[in-house]
Symmetry: C2
Subunit: 364 residues, 2 copies
């Protein structure tokens, strides 16, 4: 059987403790004969503390050589004043950019057992299942110029550049239409074409790809501000939402928060398929952040991180049976009431990070 | 008594029908001796249909000469394919820019009588009262370059420029701190300093103004994506949120939608105070849009538009008693159950746009 190379980058805050639970799951599959080879390295603030950079060159080489990267979380106020170029987030941004991970898939699913944890009314979110497809290597995150300049009179000017090329919009549109075809067949494309030229452009390219290649999928265009509103008002109207890097950052966070299951949501960041090998670079990470306030206390919910490994099984290794098996184990553990504090219902006894990991292994 | 010059720009969609109700209110105050002089002109799609521009030069001159502009709403799919420079929104953007209306105040208030109309749980939104202070004349809305360029190989590149100068951030920060001092004394400043240089800059300038001039106000910095999440999770943690033009567009729409009272929310866009006269240019508009789907049917809720006139009484004309009187009349009409469909409770008889206007006049 082929060996799958996994690079584990636990990062900062609760990253290491949720990654430890994933290692248990990897160990379980390995014992059952699935070939996994793992390496571990630093990223984010912990890499800065060790090397003075948010990710070392050696770690970048390992990431390039891996079949998939599992990423925990980065950042924390401890590093709020380190130089911009080496801030914790720079490690994640470099991974995305250098591995060419242009397609960020963020499912927002409301688990029926957890619907009451949402701040929204049960009937608004129960059964919610939407997929945000966020462009991840372009836009205002990477466009140049990106600088703060001091002017002659001593005042300053800061600039970021929102930039998109035809092929960048084309390929992310294809990912969205393709996914929609396997779901409820509807794509909502979000931009601000009424104030941004990149919005006008985005709409044109998405419309063209739709007409030429996916006319059987329903397409609607929605303004990003209205999309945010509609997510709050009636999120179940959406199936797949495709949008740019910055709008995607915000809209996917809203969608995640609606579900009441933030500690449950995984994500996948995928590169282009190599036409020769059919392989694509990939990084999997939980939607939640590093949560420094609860780090090291064993309170963190490891399910988003474990679910991210599940997405790796599915999207990177084609191990669909194994992925299904893992998803089922997670669902059973949830139903049994073994839950961390963030999702424990009223009157339920919350358990620790490790207990959830152990319970999932046991279910497997 | 001084005469206050009002320019009415009803615009498109439901704009004209909600503006008609404001005219009744203006008429009532005029009869009681408050000096109002009104003119009406076109803006948006209706201006385009008449003049081929989203606002005529004559209307711009009237706006410059007015003490306050009352603005309805613009846009509709009818004009989706007019040239970019003359699209309906261009009229609103030109008004904001040419009148120097840099400070957009968007209160998000959840009226107890309407809390059940929210998609959020009652306890999450009941009593909500936050103020979004959005920078309105800078950022990615106006920065250059802003263009779509065709490259040699036939592909295209689109660009928008997110740009801020020191004085732009300073003055909006002052507005926010100043307002917070009259409220619950807390400002949350939202940006993406972890990926944007304008975010780094925004945070620096806001911090400096806070230290130098408003150290008695509580200040917190929050990432824009996290701010969106927190608005959904627990909006009552906020008092005043200050943010840039694009984040403000999205965050204020989320905040408005939380309240369940979108048809109720007014907004004010203010310029700098003239040091000589103490006057400032101002435009008042409802938070809701042109809602083409219900336009012309007498279904629109006129309260956001009437409340916008109330903000004009307060912020432009210093007519505080009159503003209070109007607010009370609106509240009484709401309590009496005279409501349009969007806010009618279960089992309530919804009334039309005009009925609400008439009822408010009667209450006055
Ligand atoms: C950590 C940060 C750089 C990142 C982003 O802004 O993309 C995060 O918010 C995310 O959504 O993955
Ligand atoms: C109509 C449009 C140009 C406008 C904006 O994007 O600013 C609107 O969404 C708003 O928030 O006032």
């Amino acid at each position: 059987m082929a060996t799958h190379k996994l690079l584990l980058l636990p990062g900062d805050g609760i990253g290491p403790e949720v990654m430890r639970e994933v290692e248990k799951i990897v160990g379980w599959f390995r014992k059952r004969g699935v070939g996994f080879e793992t390496e571990t390295d630093l990223v984010g603030g912990s890499a800065y503390d060790a090397h003075g950079a948010a990710i070392s060159e050696a770690a970048m080489e390992r990431a390039q050589a891996a079949d998939a990267v599992l990423f925990g979380a980065v950042g924390g106020s401890k590093w709020d004043s380190v130089p911009y170029a080496v801030r914790p987030e720079a490690g994640l941004l470099r991974l995305r950019k250098d591995l060419g991970l242009f397609a960020n898939l963020r499912p927002a699913i409301c688990y029926p057992a957890l619907a009451d944890a949402s701040s929204l009314k049960r009937e608004v979110v129960e059964g919610l299942d939407i997929m945000i497809v966020r462009e991840l290597t372009g836009g205002v995150y990477f466009g140049e110029p990106k600088e703060i300049v001091t002017l002659e009179d001593g005042s300053q000017r800061a600039v970021d550049t929102q930039l998109y090329h035809t092929h960048e919009v084309e390929r992310i549109a294809r990912v969205a239409f393709d996914l929609a075809g396997k779901r409820r067949n509807k794509v909502s494309s979000a931009e601000k074409f009424n104030v941004m030229k990149t919005g006008v452009f985005w709409r044109q390219v998405v419309t063209r790809i739709h007409k030429a290649e996916f006319s059987d999928v329903e397409l609607e265009h929605v303004l990003a501000d209205n999309c945010a509103m509609q997510l709050v008002r009636n999120p179940k109207q959406f199936d797949v939402i495709v949008t740019d890097n910055l709008f995607g950052d915000i809209l996917s966070d809203i969608a995640a928060m609606l579900t009441g299951s933030l500690g449950m949501l995984p994500s996948a960041s995928l590169g282009a398929e190599d036409p020769a090998t059919g392989q694509r670079k990939a990084l999997y990470e939980p939607v939640h952040g590093s949560a420094p306030d609860i780090a090291g206390k064993g309170l963190a919910n490891p399910i988003a991180m474990i679910g991210s490994f599940g997405m790796a099984l599915r999207y990177s290794f084609g191990l669909l049976d194994e992925a299904d098996r893992l998803d089922k184990a997670i669902a059973n553990v949830l139903t049994s009431g073994t839950r961390t504090k963030d999702i424990a219902g009223p009157g339920m006894n919350a358990v620790g990070t490790q207990d959830v990991g152990d319970a999932i292994v046991k279910e497997l």
